[in-house]
């Protein structure tokens, strides 16, 4: 189906509920998910992930099938923070070091290690991110 809507919906099952939040487990499929032969091809690593989402005014019960809705733009934003930004950082560090004539192995190692502070910073910003990345739950009939 053509999905040009602004939101993505995934289906999941409520696992846990506590004041205003529900933990929902969803299926996350590997890049081969759309391939109809994934079962023959062992790379069918669909793993269960849980997502915590606001319940809003609706009430849910454990074990209920629900939909999780997220703004599409959030997905792109997440990709940016999780992948693109560190990549740019890595590249920038590498090019700078390379330019200043540091030894290749050192350059390489530092470029990898620069990810450590990067992800630490993200860790510190976790609260902000939590506010940005919110999901909504809907009932499924």
């Amino acid at each position: 189906m053509m999905s040009s809507s602004a939101c993505i919906e995934q289906k999941g099952v409520v696992e846990n509920i506590s004041d205003g939040f529900a933990t929902v487990s969803i299926m996350s499929f590997s890049a081969c998910a759309n391939c109809h032969s994934k079962k023959l091809c062992g790379i069918d690593e669909n793993s269960q992930k849980s997502v915590t989402a606001l319940t809003g005014s609706k009430t849910f019960s454990v074990g209920e099938n629900v939909g999780i809705i997220m703004k599409r733009s959030l997905g792109l934003k997440a990709t940016f923070i999780a992948y693109i930004l560190p990549f740019i950082l890595m590249l920038a560090v590498m090019l700078t070091l390379n330019y200043t004539g540091v030894k290749e192995i050192i350059t390489g190692l530092i470029s990898i290690l620069v990810l450590v502070p990067y992800y630490s910073v993200i860790y510190l910003f976790n609260d902000r991110l939590k506010k940005t990345f919110t999901f909504e739950l809907t009932k499924l009939e």
């Binding site: 081969c32 990549f87 190692l109």
Partner: protein
Amino acid sequence: MELILIIIGAVFVNNIVLSKFLGICPFIGVSNKVDTAIGMTGAVTFVMVLATLVTYLIQVYILEKLGIEFMQTVSYILIIAALVQLVEIILKKVSPPLYQALGIFLPLITTNCAILGVAILAVQNEFNLVESVIYAFANAVGFGLALVTFSGIREQLELADIPEGMKGVPIAFVIAGILAMAFMGFSNLV
């Protein structure tokens, strides 16, 4: 300048998907939606660059030092498999909400042959570190270019009346063929 030539070469002239035939599975599998294709490109860029960086170091500072280059395939694939998983764990640990958003948005990145292939090709081309990384990046961009264009066409074709027998994978290959043919216009650009 060298680097720019590497980029143009990998993105347009020898596009990883359309002329080198790597990463065809995700190309066919994840190319139904434009957004997902864009997201996938971002993720693949990161993983491809990281993988090439690490394998480059392994190649030059371990395998070649020890004279056991024949271990390339085994060590690369192990490293890439572990790396992909590692990234996931770190993300999950570092920021659950971010991780959750990705989980909803993107399929997991699978260790496909594009990542391994690019790592091996970078070595085969005898690139240095920076060139290897740029090469990986350019290939990721090339992959993304093909993937996003392609997903656009497929999204539009959802609304078209494709003959029954051609629906799905066959038509995808025909599009890829025509796209590859169009990209031949770039040949010799560098």
